[in-house]
Amino acid sequence: MPTIVSVDDSTVPGEGSSRLLLLVSSDNKHIVVEEDIMSRSRFISKQVEGFEATSQRHAILLPFSSFVLNKVIEYCSHYRGYYLLEDDPDAAPPGRSPVREWDQEFLDVDRNMLLRIIKAAHYLEIKSLVGSCARAIADMIRGKTTEEMREILGVENDFTPEEEHSPSSKCTG
């Protein structure tokens, strides 16, 4: 459950389709964003539904930094008004996101930033962004040797020599 705090209506106007949301990042930055922009996030949409049920609007505290949050807002702003199949709760297909050229440029960041964005997108339930990040991470390791993959993924080999020579025995039992 996210932490929520009450906010003054004068801070977060609640008028028609251009209502504003107050998002608070883990580094305590207050970011005001139009609700419509963030409607792609199922997490945010559910929070807003909760506001409507209680007739009270709150700030939404998020467990990632303003740097990452601003990046996610940039993504949502770019796709404001766009229909992306993965983000349609009635049609959400299982499986992979298509290649989107803008996303590839948007996610041309270092590995750590990419991982922070995918975690934030996962938390906010923005399936299209999770998909594009997952594709970008997979692209980093595609075509690499096992040792290069370990380097990129930041993990050590924990197979015994016997297992390493016959790892398939572990999955076929």
């Binding site: 008004g81 766009y82 229909y83 009635d90 049609a91 299982p94 499986g95 992979r96 590995r111 750590n112 991982l115 995918i118 975690k119 996962h122 999770v130 998909g131 997952a134 594709r135 991470i137 997979a138 692209d139 390791i141 595609r142 075509g143 690499k144 040797t145 096992t146 993959m149 370990r150 380097e151 990129i152 993924l153 930041g154 993990v155 050590e156 080999n157 924990d158 197979f159 297992e163 390493e164 790892p167 398939s168 572990k170 999955c171 076929t172 039992g173």
Partner: protein, 339 residues
């Protein structure tokens, strides 16, 4: 010197999602050997969604045709695609033997060739006392009493796609498929369509239409227990412009939110598309509209912009429109722009 190890800190579902973008076979031999954690992720990914055809299907099915194989419980989605083969009965029997092992199966696709669908009934491969509970079934096996009995034994199916020929009697119990939310068919007659739609909570339907069946087929869509919100129509004859369906659609499905019409055998020009403008006013909640047809090559994107603007004026709830040139139109800063 390793990096900070952030990747292992991702939840397993994200790691599996990332692995799903790797390619079989080129990426997996190396990925399987990264370490034991990633080996488990890679194995789950490989067997989670299995899509195989022809010779590979035979090899896979034979390798898991063993009681107690641990891979049985990894497979949640299985696609067997034999559309380019004529299947021997021995292979049907192999499928019939393997399916009852797959306790975790949620999505099953069993595709056969048009020849097999027309001339051979293969739905008998589906076990009537299966240990699995499907959410999704796609098959081009011919309609049959066994197929209806299998559907009656799978009450958790949400998404159903029946692409086979309907040349045999098909009677589905009214209590079957109580949660069905989407249905796709290719060869269903209006009578079969009515059987599947009636009193079920469908939100999405995709059908193939010929002019002589249009009135009855579209009429049966009103029989669902909840309003159908998404409709896809593939029109396979050229007897009347597809836009003539709009009035009946609006009367039958007034709560439609997404309408996709594909009529590639029909040729459209700008006059026909502009003439359809007032008909769209009858859809008060339509948000997504696709209208694919063989367009007039003389017109350009600017002409399509005019159509999109006219249609959106008549139907202000529209958010995206896809027109015959295949581009998606949406409102951006007050005007209709192309993606």
């Amino acid at each position: 010197m390793r990096g900070p190890g952030l990747v292992p800190s991702l939840p397993p579902e994200l790691l599996s999602h990332i692995a799903s973008y790797l390619q079989w076979p080129e990426d997996f031999p190396a990925f399987l050997l990264v370490n034991s954690h990633f080996h488990a992720i890679a194995t789950r990914t490989l067997y989670h969604t299995v899509y195989v055809n022809s010779a590979r299907a035979v090899r896979l099915l034979r390798s898991i045709d063993v009681p107690g194989d641990r891979r049985h419980n990894l497979i949640t989605s299985l696609t067997l695609n034999f559309t380019k083969n004529r299947v021997l009965k021995q292979l049907d029997l192999l499928v019939q033997r393997v399916l009852p092992h797959l306790k975790k199966l949620k999505a099953l696709t069993f595709e056969v060739s048009s020849y097999d669908s027309a001339w051979r009934g293969q739905a008998w491969v589906f076990p009537l006392d299966a240990p699995f509970h499907l959410r999704s079934l796609t098959t081009s096996a011919r309609f049959s009493t066994h197929l209806s009995a299998f559907l009656e034994s799978q009450p958790e199916i949400l998404d159903l796609s029946l692409r086979g020929f309907a040349t045999e009697p098909f009677n589905l119990d009214q209590a079957a498929l109580p949660h069905l939310r989407s249905f796709r068919s290719v060869h269903s007659s209006p009578q079969v369509l009515a059987q599947i739609v009636t009193a079920r909570p469908l939100k999405s339907v995709s059908i193939t239409l010929i002019a002589e069946d249009a009135v009855n087929a579209l009429g049966s869509l009103a029989l669902s227990s909840t309003p159908i919100k998404r409709l896809t129509i593939l029109i396979i004859d050229a007897s009347a412009p597809a836009t003539e369906l709009f009035p009946q659609l609006a009367a039958t499905l007034p709560q439609l939110e997404a309408l996709h019409i594909v009529a590639l055998v029909q040729t459209y020009d700008l006059d026909i598309m502009h003439a359809a403008t007032p008909l769209l006013a009858a859809f008060p909640g339509l948000r997504y509209l696709t209208f694919m047809a063989s367009g007039d090559p003389a017109y350009d994107l600017g002409d399509e912009a005019g159509v999109a603007t006219d249609w959106a004026t008549a139907c202000p709830s529209l958010r995206t429109i896809i027109l015959p040139k295949g581009k998606m139109w949406f409102r951006k800063e007050g005007i209709w722009a192309v993606s």
